[in-house]
Amino acid sequence: MQELVQSLVHTTAFLGRAAQDEPDAVERALAERGRAIEAIQRLIAAEASAGRAISEAFAGELTTALEKGRQILVRLTLARELMRSDRLAVERELQVLNGIRRLCAKPSGSLSLHG
Protein backbone atom coordinates (compact mmCIF):
# COMPACT_ATOMS: atom_id res chain seq x y z
CA MET A 1 0.00 0.00 0.00
CA GLN A 2 2.74 2.36 0.97
CA GLU A 3 4.54 1.61 -2.30
CA LEU A 4 1.47 2.60 -4.30
CA VAL A 5 1.16 5.85 -2.43
CA GLN A 6 4.86 6.54 -2.89
CA SER A 7 4.54 5.87 -6.63
CA LEU A 8 1.62 8.26 -6.81
CA VAL A 9 3.42 10.94 -4.81
CA HIS A 10 6.62 10.45 -6.77
CA THR A 11 5.05 10.67 -10.24
CA THR A 12 2.86 13.59 -9.24
CA ALA A 13 5.90 15.44 -7.96
CA PHE A 14 7.77 14.65 -11.17
CA LEU A 15 4.93 16.00 -13.27
CA GLY A 16 5.05 19.14 -11.15
CA ARG A 17 8.71 19.62 -11.97
CA ALA A 18 8.88 18.32 -15.54
CA ALA A 19 8.95 20.83 -18.30
CA GLN A 20 6.81 20.29 -21.32
CA ASP A 21 9.97 20.09 -23.37
CA GLU A 22 10.45 16.56 -22.05
CA PRO A 23 7.38 14.94 -23.55
CA ASP A 24 8.65 11.35 -23.30
CA ALA A 25 9.46 11.64 -19.59
CA VAL A 26 6.14 13.34 -18.91
CA GLU A 27 4.34 10.59 -20.83
CA ARG A 28 6.06 7.90 -18.81
CA ALA A 29 5.28 9.64 -15.50
CA LEU A 30 1.64 10.02 -16.51
CA ALA A 31 1.38 6.35 -17.36
CA GLU A 32 2.99 5.33 -14.09
CA ARG A 33 0.75 7.68 -12.12
CA GLY A 34 -2.28 6.27 -13.92
CA ARG A 35 -1.31 2.73 -13.01
CA ALA A 36 -0.76 3.73 -9.37
CA ILE A 37 -4.24 5.30 -9.20
CA GLU A 38 -5.86 2.20 -10.72
CA ALA A 39 -4.04 -0.02 -8.22
CA ILE A 40 -5.12 2.21 -5.35
CA GLN A 41 -8.73 1.97 -6.54
CA ARG A 42 -8.47 -1.79 -6.61
CA LEU A 43 -6.87 -1.85 -3.15
CA ILE A 44 -9.59 0.34 -1.64
CA ALA A 45 -12.26 -1.88 -3.18
CA ALA A 46 -10.59 -4.97 -1.77
CA GLU A 47 -10.24 -3.46 1.70
CA ALA A 48 -13.87 -2.38 1.64
CA SER A 49 -14.98 -5.87 0.68
CA ALA A 50 -12.94 -7.28 3.54
CA GLY A 51 -14.49 -4.74 5.93
CA ARG A 52 -11.13 -3.32 6.91
CA ALA A 53 -10.54 0.30 7.68
CA ILE A 54 -7.85 2.31 5.91
CA SER A 55 -5.57 4.60 7.79
CA GLU A 56 -6.16 8.33 7.88
CA ALA A 57 -2.52 8.87 6.90
CA PHE A 58 -3.17 6.99 3.66
CA ALA A 59 -6.26 9.07 3.02
CA GLY A 60 -4.33 12.23 3.76
CA GLU A 61 -1.57 11.35 1.31
CA LEU A 62 -4.10 10.61 -1.40
CA THR A 63 -5.78 13.94 -0.75
CA THR A 64 -2.45 15.72 -0.93
CA ALA A 65 -1.66 14.00 -4.26
CA LEU A 66 -5.06 15.05 -5.57
CA GLU A 67 -4.42 18.67 -4.60
CA LYS A 68 -0.98 18.66 -6.20
CA GLY A 69 -2.47 17.20 -9.36
CA ARG A 70 -5.01 19.97 -9.36
CA GLN A 71 -2.24 22.56 -9.16
CA ILE A 72 -0.34 20.86 -11.99
CA LEU A 73 -3.50 20.93 -14.09
CA VAL A 74 -3.85 24.66 -13.46
CA ARG A 75 -0.26 25.19 -14.50
CA LEU A 76 -0.64 23.07 -17.63
CA THR A 77 -3.76 24.95 -18.62
CA LEU A 78 -2.05 28.29 -18.12
CA ALA A 79 0.88 27.15 -20.26
CA ARG A 80 -1.51 25.95 -22.95
CA GLU A 81 -3.30 29.29 -22.97
CA LEU A 82 0.02 31.03 -23.37
CA MET A 83 0.89 28.85 -26.37
CA ARG A 84 -2.51 29.38 -27.89
CA SER A 85 -2.21 33.13 -27.64
CA ASP A 86 1.32 32.92 -29.04
CA ARG A 87 0.01 31.02 -32.03
CA LEU A 88 -2.74 33.54 -32.63
CA ALA A 89 -0.17 36.32 -32.44
CA VAL A 90 2.02 34.53 -34.98
CA GLU A 91 -0.93 34.08 -37.30
CA ARG A 92 -1.68 37.78 -37.08
CA GLU A 93 1.97 38.56 -37.74
CA LEU A 94 1.78 36.42 -40.87
CA GLN A 95 -1.31 38.26 -42.05
CA VAL A 96 0.36 41.62 -41.56
CA LEU A 97 3.58 40.47 -43.21
CA ASN A 98 1.71 39.17 -46.21
CA GLY A 99 -0.08 42.51 -46.39
CA ILE A 100 3.23 44.36 -46.45
CA ARG A 101 4.54 41.93 -49.05
CA ARG A 102 1.62 42.83 -51.29
CA LEU A 103 2.37 46.51 -50.68
CA CYS A 104 5.98 46.00 -51.77
CA ALA A 105 4.96 44.21 -54.96
CA LYS A 106 4.48 46.74 -57.75
CA PRO A 107 1.08 46.61 -59.41
CA SER A 108 1.33 45.39 -62.97
CA GLY A 109 -0.35 48.50 -64.34
CA SER A 110 2.04 50.87 -62.62
CA LEU A 111 4.23 53.21 -64.55
CA SER A 112 7.75 51.92 -64.88
CA LEU A 113 10.34 54.59 -64.35
CA HIS A 114 12.98 52.53 -66.09
CA GLY A 115 11.75 52.60 -69.63
Binding site: I54, E67, G69, R75, L78, S85, C104, G115
Partner: protein, 479 residues
Protein backbone atom coordinates in the same frame (compact mmCIF):
# COMPACT_ATOMS: atom_id res chain seq x y z
CA UNK B 1 2.86 59.44 -45.08
CA UNK B 2 2.72 56.06 -43.42
CA UNK B 3 -0.52 54.20 -43.43
CA UNK B 4 -1.92 52.97 -40.16
CA UNK B 5 -0.35 49.55 -39.73
CA UNK B 6 -2.31 46.49 -38.85
CA UNK B 7 -1.69 45.73 -35.22
CA UNK B 8 -1.40 42.59 -33.18
CA UNK B 9 -3.91 42.64 -30.36
CA UNK B 10 -2.75 40.66 -27.32
CA UNK B 11 -5.30 38.26 -25.88
CA UNK B 12 -6.82 38.98 -22.54
CA UNK B 13 -5.74 36.16 -20.30
CA UNK B 14 -8.11 34.80 -17.71
CA UNK B 15 -6.60 32.38 -15.26
CA UNK B 16 -6.99 31.11 -11.74
CA UNK B 17 -3.42 31.24 -10.71
CA UNK B 18 -2.06 34.20 -8.82
CA UNK B 19 0.47 34.25 -11.65
CA UNK B 20 -2.18 34.85 -14.29
CA UNK B 21 -1.36 38.54 -14.26
CA UNK B 22 2.25 37.73 -15.00
CA UNK B 23 1.21 35.50 -17.86
CA UNK B 24 -0.86 38.32 -19.26
CA UNK B 25 2.03 40.75 -19.10
CA UNK B 26 4.34 38.20 -20.75
CA UNK B 27 1.90 37.74 -23.62
CA UNK B 28 1.36 41.46 -24.02
CA UNK B 29 5.06 42.18 -24.00
CA UNK B 30 5.92 39.47 -26.50
CA UNK B 31 3.19 40.64 -28.84
CA UNK B 32 4.33 44.23 -28.49
CA UNK B 33 7.91 43.27 -29.29
CA UNK B 34 6.83 41.34 -32.37
CA UNK B 35 4.68 44.29 -33.37
CA UNK B 36 7.60 46.71 -33.26
CA UNK B 37 9.48 45.23 -36.20
CA UNK B 38 6.32 44.63 -38.19
CA UNK B 39 5.10 48.17 -37.63
CA UNK B 40 8.47 49.45 -38.76
CA UNK B 41 8.38 47.30 -41.89
CA UNK B 42 4.82 48.35 -42.58
CA UNK B 43 5.71 52.01 -42.28
CA UNK B 44 8.82 51.64 -44.43
CA UNK B 45 6.94 49.81 -47.19
CA UNK B 46 4.10 52.26 -47.05
CA UNK B 47 6.40 55.28 -47.13
CA UNK B 48 8.40 53.96 -50.07
CA UNK B 49 5.21 53.20 -51.98
CA UNK B 50 3.87 56.69 -51.29
CA UNK B 51 7.15 58.36 -52.21
CA UNK B 52 7.23 56.44 -55.48
CA UNK B 53 3.71 57.56 -56.32
CA UNK B 54 4.52 61.19 -55.53
CA UNK B 55 7.74 61.04 -57.53
CA UNK B 56 5.99 59.44 -60.48
CA UNK B 57 3.40 62.20 -60.50
CA UNK B 58 6.09 64.88 -60.38
CA UNK B 59 8.15 63.08 -63.01
CA UNK B 60 5.21 63.04 -65.40
CA UNK B 61 4.43 66.71 -64.75
CA UNK B 62 8.07 67.75 -65.23
CA UNK B 63 8.31 65.68 -68.41
CA UNK B 64 5.17 67.28 -69.82
CA UNK B 65 6.47 70.77 -69.08
CA UNK B 66 9.86 69.94 -70.61
CA UNK B 67 8.12 68.78 -73.79
CA UNK B 68 6.15 72.02 -74.02
CA UNK B 69 9.28 74.12 -73.44
CA UNK B 70 11.02 72.14 -76.16
CA UNK B 71 8.04 72.69 -78.48
CA UNK B 72 8.18 76.46 -77.83
CA UNK B 73 11.91 76.39 -78.54
CA UNK B 74 11.28 74.57 -81.84
CA UNK B 75 8.48 76.97 -82.78
CA UNK B 76 10.85 79.86 -82.14
CA UNK B 77 13.56 78.25 -84.24
CA UNK B 78 11.34 77.57 -87.22
CA UNK B 79 9.23 80.68 -86.61
CA UNK B 80 6.22 78.41 -86.10
CA UNK B 81 6.09 77.73 -89.79
CA UNK B 82 3.30 75.37 -90.74
CA UNK B 83 2.76 73.78 -94.11
CA UNK B 84 -0.49 74.34 -96.00
CA UNK B 85 -1.87 73.30 -99.36
CA UNK B 86 -4.06 75.50 -101.56
CA UNK B 87 -6.02 72.40 -102.60
CA UNK B 88 -5.80 69.53 -100.12
CA UNK B 89 -8.05 67.32 -102.25
CA UNK B 90 -5.20 67.16 -104.76
CA UNK B 91 -2.11 67.55 -102.55
CA UNK B 92 -1.89 67.29 -98.78
CA UNK B 93 0.99 68.56 -96.63
CA UNK B 94 1.93 65.87 -94.14
CA UNK B 95 4.73 67.60 -92.27
CA UNK B 96 6.84 70.66 -92.57
CA UNK B 97 10.02 71.57 -90.78
CA UNK B 98 11.15 74.29 -93.14
CA UNK B 99 13.32 76.89 -91.46
CA UNK B 100 11.94 79.85 -93.37
CA UNK B 101 8.73 80.81 -95.20
CA UNK B 102 8.50 79.37 -98.72
CA UNK B 103 5.98 78.28 -101.34
CA UNK B 104 6.04 75.63 -104.07
CA UNK B 105 3.86 75.03 -107.10
CA UNK B 106 2.71 71.61 -108.22
CA UNK B 107 1.13 71.15 -111.63
CA UNK B 108 0.28 68.54 -114.25
CA UNK B 109 -0.60 65.73 -111.88
CA UNK B 110 -1.44 63.16 -114.51
CA UNK B 111 -1.28 59.99 -112.50
CA UNK B 112 -1.47 58.68 -108.94
CA UNK B 113 0.68 55.80 -107.79
CA UNK B 114 -1.28 52.56 -107.72
CA UNK B 115 -0.64 48.91 -107.04
CA UNK B 116 -0.25 46.26 -109.76
CA UNK B 117 -2.87 43.54 -109.50
CA UNK B 118 -3.42 40.49 -111.75
CA UNK B 119 -5.32 37.25 -111.71
CA UNK B 120 -5.30 34.18 -113.91
CA UNK B 121 -7.64 34.57 -116.86
CA UNK B 122 -8.70 30.96 -116.67
CA UNK B 123 -10.09 29.28 -113.62
CA UNK B 124 -9.16 25.88 -112.16
CA UNK B 125 -11.50 23.10 -111.10
CA UNK B 126 -9.71 22.38 -107.85
CA UNK B 127 -7.15 24.34 -105.82
CA UNK B 128 -5.45 21.29 -104.42
CA UNK B 129 -5.53 18.76 -107.22
CA UNK B 130 -5.82 20.46 -110.64
CA UNK B 131 -2.36 20.75 -112.17
CA UNK B 132 -1.20 24.29 -112.98
CA UNK B 133 2.04 23.40 -114.75
CA UNK B 134 2.77 20.95 -117.54
CA UNK B 135 6.22 20.13 -116.16
CA UNK B 136 6.12 21.31 -112.55
CA UNK B 137 8.47 24.18 -113.32
CA UNK B 138 7.26 27.78 -113.62
CA UNK B 139 8.74 31.24 -113.56
CA UNK B 140 7.63 34.60 -112.12
CA UNK B 141 8.58 37.60 -114.25
CA UNK B 142 8.36 41.14 -112.85
CA UNK B 143 8.93 44.16 -115.06
CA UNK B 144 10.33 41.81 -117.71
CA UNK B 145 12.96 40.32 -115.41
CA UNK B 146 12.73 36.70 -114.28
CA UNK B 147 12.67 36.16 -110.56
CA UNK B 148 15.17 33.50 -109.53
CA UNK B 149 15.00 30.70 -108.76
CA UNK B 150 12.28 29.17 -110.90
CA UNK B 151 9.17 27.92 -109.15
CA UNK B 152 9.50 24.21 -108.43
CA UNK B 153 6.18 22.37 -108.15
CA UNK B 154 7.55 18.87 -108.75
CA UNK B 155 7.18 17.83 -105.13
CA UNK B 156 4.26 15.62 -104.22
CA UNK B 157 1.02 17.59 -103.94
CA UNK B 158 2.63 20.86 -105.06
CA UNK B 159 1.51 21.10 -108.69
CA UNK B 160 -1.76 22.87 -108.01
CA UNK B 161 -3.06 26.37 -107.34
CA UNK B 162 -2.37 26.33 -103.60
CA UNK B 163 1.17 25.02 -104.19
CA UNK B 164 1.80 27.73 -106.78
CA UNK B 165 0.56 30.51 -104.46
CA UNK B 166 2.78 29.27 -101.64
CA UNK B 167 5.79 29.00 -103.94
CA UNK B 168 5.31 32.53 -105.30
CA UNK B 169 5.03 33.96 -101.78
CA UNK B 170 8.15 32.06 -100.73
CA UNK B 171 10.12 33.94 -103.40
CA UNK B 172 9.66 37.21 -101.46
CA UNK B 173 9.60 39.04 -104.78
CA UNK B 174 7.47 41.96 -103.60
CA UNK B 175 4.21 40.37 -104.67
CA UNK B 176 1.58 38.36 -102.83
CA UNK B 177 -0.28 35.44 -104.41
CA UNK B 178 -3.71 34.42 -103.16
CA UNK B 179 -6.10 31.69 -104.28
CA UNK B 180 -9.57 33.06 -104.94
CA UNK B 181 -12.68 30.85 -104.97
CA UNK B 182 -15.51 32.44 -106.93
CA UNK B 183 -17.79 29.57 -106.03
CA UNK B 184 -19.37 29.50 -109.47
CA UNK B 185 -18.93 27.28 -112.51
CA UNK B 186 -16.79 24.22 -113.08
CA UNK B 187 -13.54 26.10 -112.61
CA UNK B 188 -14.12 28.47 -109.68
CA UNK B 189 -10.51 28.78 -108.49
CA UNK B 190 -8.28 31.64 -109.68
CA UNK B 191 -4.82 32.84 -108.67
CA UNK B 192 -4.49 36.51 -107.74
CA UNK B 193 -1.04 38.16 -107.75
CA UNK B 194 -0.73 41.69 -106.34
CA UNK B 195 2.28 43.93 -105.81
CA UNK B 196 3.04 44.75 -102.19
CA UNK B 197 3.75 48.42 -102.95
CA UNK B 198 2.51 51.04 -105.35
CA UNK B 199 4.34 51.86 -108.54
CA UNK B 200 4.50 50.79 -112.15
CA UNK B 201 4.98 47.06 -112.27
CA UNK B 202 4.13 44.29 -114.79
CA UNK B 203 3.72 40.71 -113.65
CA UNK B 204 3.96 37.59 -115.83
CA UNK B 205 3.84 33.89 -115.12
CA UNK B 206 5.62 31.41 -117.46
CA UNK B 207 5.08 27.65 -117.52
CA UNK B 208 7.99 25.36 -118.43
CA UNK B 209 10.53 28.22 -118.59
CA UNK B 210 13.33 25.92 -119.74
CA UNK B 211 11.23 24.36 -122.49
CA UNK B 212 8.02 25.50 -124.10
CA UNK B 213 7.96 28.80 -122.14
CA UNK B 214 4.18 29.03 -122.19
CA UNK B 215 2.74 32.29 -120.86
CA UNK B 216 0.02 31.72 -118.27
CA UNK B 217 -2.79 34.04 -119.23
CA UNK B 218 -3.12 36.84 -116.64
CA UNK B 219 -5.49 39.75 -116.70
CA UNK B 220 -5.40 42.86 -114.55
CA UNK B 221 -3.64 46.17 -114.28
CA UNK B 222 -0.01 47.07 -114.03
CA UNK B 223 0.73 49.47 -111.22
CA UNK B 224 1.29 53.14 -111.88
CA UNK B 225 3.66 55.86 -110.66
CA UNK B 226 2.66 59.27 -109.41
CA UNK B 227 3.43 61.72 -112.20
CA UNK B 228 3.52 65.48 -111.65
CA UNK B 229 5.59 68.67 -111.95
CA UNK B 230 7.09 70.49 -108.97
CA UNK B 231 8.30 73.99 -109.70
CA UNK B 232 8.29 72.98 -113.39
CA UNK B 233 10.43 69.89 -112.79
CA UNK B 234 8.99 66.54 -113.90
CA UNK B 235 8.74 64.06 -111.01
CA UNK B 236 7.81 60.39 -111.27
CA UNK B 237 7.39 58.60 -107.97
CA UNK B 238 6.33 55.00 -107.20
CA UNK B 239 4.54 56.31 -104.09
CA UNK B 240 2.04 59.07 -103.61
CA UNK B 241 3.77 60.32 -100.47
CA UNK B 242 6.73 62.42 -101.49
CA UNK B 243 9.38 62.80 -98.81
CA UNK B 244 12.50 64.00 -100.58
CA UNK B 245 11.41 66.37 -103.34
CA UNK B 246 11.24 69.33 -100.90
CA UNK B 247 13.76 68.97 -98.04
CA UNK B 248 11.82 69.64 -94.86
CA UNK B 249 8.36 69.07 -96.29
CA UNK B 250 6.48 65.85 -96.90
CA UNK B 251 3.34 65.85 -99.01
CA UNK B 252 0.92 63.38 -100.54
CA UNK B 253 -0.52 63.43 -104.04
CA UNK B 254 -4.24 62.71 -103.67
CA UNK B 255 -5.76 63.60 -107.06
CA UNK B 256 -5.00 64.54 -110.64
CA UNK B 257 -5.14 68.09 -112.00
CA UNK B 258 -7.10 69.19 -115.02
CA UNK B 259 -5.86 71.64 -117.61
CA UNK B 260 -3.61 74.32 -116.18
CA UNK B 261 -4.71 73.68 -112.64
CA UNK B 262 -1.93 74.19 -110.04
CA UNK B 263 -1.59 73.57 -106.31
CA UNK B 264 0.52 75.80 -104.05
CA UNK B 265 2.25 74.38 -101.02
CA UNK B 266 3.24 77.04 -98.49
CA UNK B 267 5.22 77.20 -95.29
CA UNK B 268 4.06 80.28 -93.40
CA UNK B 269 4.19 81.52 -89.83
CA UNK B 270 1.25 80.60 -87.65
CA UNK B 271 1.36 82.45 -84.33
CA UNK B 272 -1.61 80.49 -83.02
CA UNK B 273 0.78 77.59 -82.51
CA UNK B 274 2.66 79.75 -80.02
CA UNK B 275 -0.48 80.75 -78.13
CA UNK B 276 -1.66 77.13 -78.03
CA UNK B 277 1.63 76.03 -76.54
CA UNK B 278 1.56 78.90 -74.04
CA UNK B 279 -1.89 77.78 -72.89
CA UNK B 280 -0.54 74.27 -72.43
CA UNK B 281 2.53 75.63 -70.67
CA UNK B 282 0.43 77.51 -68.12
CA UNK B 283 -1.69 74.48 -67.28
CA UNK B 284 1.33 72.23 -66.93
CA UNK B 285 3.26 74.80 -64.90
CA UNK B 286 0.38 75.17 -62.44
CA UNK B 287 -0.07 71.40 -62.13
CA UNK B 288 3.61 70.91 -61.40
CA UNK B 289 3.73 73.81 -58.97
CA UNK B 290 0.80 72.33 -57.10
CA UNK B 291 2.61 69.00 -56.76
CA UNK B 292 5.77 70.73 -55.57
CA UNK B 293 3.94 72.93 -53.07
CA UNK B 294 2.50 69.78 -51.48
CA UNK B 295 6.04 68.77 -50.55
CA UNK B 296 7.05 72.06 -49.02
CA UNK B 297 6.21 73.73 -45.73
CA UNK B 298 4.72 72.55 -42.45
CA UNK B 299 2.19 70.26 -44.14
CA UNK B 300 4.72 68.81 -46.58
CA UNK B 301 4.49 65.25 -47.83
CA UNK B 302 7.09 62.52 -47.71
CA UNK B 303 9.35 64.25 -50.23
CA UNK B 304 10.01 67.10 -47.82
CA UNK B 305 13.69 67.97 -48.00
CA UNK B 306 14.27 65.92 -51.12
CA UNK B 307 16.81 67.80 -53.21
CA UNK B 308 14.83 67.08 -56.39
CA UNK B 309 12.00 69.30 -55.20
CA UNK B 310 14.28 72.27 -54.64
CA UNK B 311 16.06 71.66 -57.94
CA UNK B 312 12.85 71.55 -59.93
CA UNK B 313 11.57 74.67 -58.22
CA UNK B 314 14.78 76.45 -59.08
CA UNK B 315 14.33 75.39 -62.72
CA UNK B 316 10.80 76.80 -62.68
CA UNK B 317 12.09 80.10 -61.33
CA UNK B 318 14.63 80.09 -64.15
CA UNK B 319 11.81 79.76 -66.66
CA UNK B 320 9.76 82.55 -65.15
CA UNK B 321 12.72 84.89 -64.83
CA UNK B 322 14.20 84.18 -68.25
CA UNK B 323 14.86 87.31 -70.29
CA UNK B 324 15.60 87.40 -74.00
CA UNK B 325 18.81 88.90 -75.31
CA UNK B 326 17.14 91.73 -77.24
CA UNK B 327 16.33 95.25 -76.18
CA UNK B 328 12.83 95.60 -77.53
CA UNK B 329 9.74 93.59 -78.35
CA UNK B 330 9.06 90.36 -76.47
CA UNK B 331 11.75 89.81 -73.83
CA UNK B 332 9.84 88.09 -71.02
CA UNK B 333 6.96 85.68 -70.63
CA UNK B 334 5.00 88.59 -69.18
CA UNK B 335 5.30 90.36 -72.54
CA UNK B 336 3.45 87.40 -74.08
CA UNK B 337 0.53 87.66 -71.65
CA UNK B 338 1.77 85.35 -68.88
CA UNK B 339 0.74 86.59 -65.44
CA UNK B 340 1.58 85.28 -62.01
CA UNK B 341 -0.94 85.83 -59.23
CA UNK B 342 0.93 87.32 -56.29
CA UNK B 343 -1.01 85.66 -53.54
CA UNK B 344 -1.41 82.15 -54.91
CA UNK B 345 1.57 81.64 -57.23
CA UNK B 346 -0.85 80.43 -59.89
CA UNK B 347 0.09 81.41 -63.45
CA UNK B 348 -2.41 82.51 -66.06
CA UNK B 349 -2.28 83.37 -69.75
CA UNK B 350 -3.93 86.55 -71.00
CA UNK B 351 -4.61 85.72 -74.64
CA UNK B 352 -5.74 89.30 -75.30
CA UNK B 353 -2.21 90.55 -74.59
CA UNK B 354 -0.82 87.94 -76.99
CA UNK B 355 -3.35 88.68 -79.72
CA UNK B 356 -2.48 92.37 -79.53
CA UNK B 357 1.14 91.72 -80.49
CA UNK B 358 2.18 93.18 -83.86
CA UNK B 359 3.85 90.99 -86.51
CA UNK B 360 7.15 92.65 -85.63
CA UNK B 361 6.66 91.77 -81.97
CA UNK B 362 5.76 88.20 -82.93
CA UNK B 363 9.09 88.01 -84.74
CA UNK B 364 10.85 89.02 -81.52
CA UNK B 365 8.82 86.35 -79.72
CA UNK B 366 10.31 83.77 -82.09
CA UNK B 367 13.79 85.00 -81.18
CA UNK B 368 12.85 84.91 -77.50
CA UNK B 369 11.83 81.24 -77.69
CA UNK B 370 14.69 80.28 -79.99
CA UNK B 371 17.43 81.68 -77.74
CA UNK B 372 20.09 78.98 -77.37
CA UNK B 373 20.42 79.70 -73.65
CA UNK B 374 16.68 79.96 -73.16
CA UNK B 375 13.88 77.49 -73.50
CA UNK B 376 15.97 74.73 -75.04
CA UNK B 377 18.34 74.79 -72.08
CA UNK B 378 15.49 75.06 -69.61
CA UNK B 379 13.78 72.10 -71.24
CA UNK B 380 17.02 70.12 -70.97
CA UNK B 381 17.26 71.02 -67.28
CA UNK B 382 13.77 69.69 -66.64
CA UNK B 383 14.48 66.59 -68.70
CA UNK B 384 17.50 65.90 -66.51
CA UNK B 385 14.95 65.31 -63.76
CA UNK B 386 12.18 63.61 -65.73
CA UNK B 387 14.03 61.36 -68.18
CA UNK B 388 12.69 57.86 -67.66
CA UNK B 389 16.14 56.31 -67.85
CA UNK B 390 18.78 58.90 -67.00
CA UNK B 391 16.74 61.42 -65.00
CA UNK B 392 17.41 62.00 -61.32
CA UNK B 393 13.86 60.97 -60.44
CA UNK B 394 14.50 57.65 -62.14
CA UNK B 395 17.73 57.41 -60.12
CA UNK B 396 15.78 58.00 -56.95
CA UNK B 397 13.34 55.35 -58.07
CA UNK B 398 16.20 52.89 -58.42
CA UNK B 399 17.15 53.55 -54.81
CA UNK B 400 13.60 52.97 -53.71
CA UNK B 401 13.48 49.77 -55.69
CA UNK B 402 16.61 48.59 -53.89
CA UNK B 403 15.08 49.51 -50.55
CA UNK B 404 11.91 47.67 -51.48
CA UNK B 405 13.94 44.62 -52.45
CA UNK B 406 15.74 44.67 -49.11
CA UNK B 407 12.47 45.14 -47.35
CA UNK B 408 10.97 42.19 -49.20
CA UNK B 409 13.93 40.10 -48.15
CA UNK B 410 13.40 41.05 -44.50
CA UNK B 411 9.71 40.29 -44.78
CA UNK B 412 10.38 36.91 -46.35
CA UNK B 413 12.72 36.04 -43.49
CA UNK B 414 10.11 37.05 -40.94
CA UNK B 415 7.44 35.09 -42.77
CA UNK B 416 9.65 31.99 -42.76
CA UNK B 417 10.29 32.41 -39.05
CA UNK B 418 6.61 32.95 -38.35
CA UNK B 419 5.66 29.88 -40.35
CA UNK B 420 8.18 27.81 -38.42
CA UNK B 421 6.93 29.21 -35.14
CA UNK B 422 3.36 28.48 -36.15
CA UNK B 423 4.16 24.83 -36.86
CA UNK B 424 6.08 24.43 -33.62
CA UNK B 425 3.33 26.01 -31.58
CA UNK B 426 0.67 23.89 -33.26
CA UNK B 427 2.59 20.73 -32.35
CA UNK B 428 3.12 21.91 -28.77
CA UNK B 429 -0.51 22.85 -28.43
CA UNK B 430 -1.57 19.42 -29.53
CA UNK B 431 0.79 17.83 -27.02
CA UNK B 432 -0.48 20.13 -24.27
CA UNK B 433 -4.09 19.23 -25.05
CA UNK B 434 -3.30 15.56 -24.81
CA UNK B 435 -1.43 16.08 -21.53
CA UNK B 436 -4.28 18.01 -19.98
CA UNK B 437 -6.86 15.42 -21.00
CA UNK B 438 -4.83 12.61 -19.47
CA UNK B 439 -4.22 14.58 -16.31
CA UNK B 440 -7.92 15.38 -15.99
CA UNK B 441 -8.81 11.73 -16.36
CA UNK B 442 -6.33 10.80 -13.66
CA UNK B 443 -7.63 13.51 -11.36
CA UNK B 444 -11.18 12.25 -11.78
CA UNK B 445 -10.06 8.70 -11.04
CA UNK B 446 -8.16 9.89 -7.97
CA UNK B 447 -11.17 11.87 -6.76
CA UNK B 448 -13.33 8.80 -7.17
CA UNK B 449 -10.81 6.73 -5.22
CA UNK B 450 -10.80 9.21 -2.36
CA UNK B 451 -14.59 9.34 -2.32
CA UNK B 452 -14.68 5.57 -2.19
CA UNK B 453 -12.10 5.55 0.58
CA UNK B 454 -14.04 8.03 2.70
CA UNK B 455 -17.22 6.12 2.24
CA UNK B 456 -15.56 2.87 3.19
CA UNK B 457 -13.62 4.23 6.13
CA UNK B 458 -15.81 6.98 7.49
CA UNK B 459 -19.23 6.49 5.99
CA UNK B 460 -19.26 9.72 3.96
CA UNK B 461 -18.02 10.64 0.57
CA UNK B 462 -16.82 14.25 1.03
CA UNK B 463 -13.15 14.37 0.03
CA UNK B 464 -12.83 17.90 1.32
CA UNK B 465 -10.81 18.68 -1.83
CA UNK B 466 -11.61 20.58 -4.91
CA UNK B 467 -11.30 19.55 -8.54
CA UNK B 468 -10.17 21.79 -11.31
CA UNK B 469 -12.16 22.31 -14.45
CA UNK B 470 -9.88 23.97 -17.04
CA UNK B 471 -12.66 24.60 -19.52
CA UNK B 472 -14.61 26.78 -17.10
CA UNK B 473 -11.48 28.17 -15.49
CA UNK B 474 -12.88 27.63 -11.98
CA UNK B 475 -12.55 25.17 -9.18
CA UNK B 476 -15.40 23.29 -7.64
CA UNK B 477 -15.80 21.24 -4.60
CA UNK B 478 -15.42 17.54 -5.28
CA UNK B 479 -18.09 14.98 -4.33
Amino acid sequence: MATTPSTLTPLTFTGLSPYAKDFQSIITRSVDIAQLSITQLNNEASDISSEEQLATGIQTAVGNLATTLSNLNSLGSNQSLSGTSSNSSLVQVNASSLASPASFTISNITSLASTASYSTTNGYANATSTAVSSTGSMQLVINGTAVTPNIDLTGSGNNNLNGLASAINALNAGVTATVINTGTGATPYFLSISANTTGSKTIQLVDDPNGAQTQVALSGTAGANADFYLQGQHIVSPTNTITSAIPGMTFTIAGTTSGNQTVTLSAASDSSQISDQLETFVNQYNSLQQLLNAQIGPKAGLLLGNSMIGGIQQALHGIMNFRGGGTSGVQTLEDLGMQMADNTGVMSFNSATFDALTPAQIQTAYSFFASPTGFGTLAATLTSYSDLVTGSIAGQETQWTTETTNLSSKINTLVDQANQMQSTLAAKLQAADSLIVQMQTQQQALTAAIQSLNFTAFGYSNTNTSTFNPSSGSSSSGG
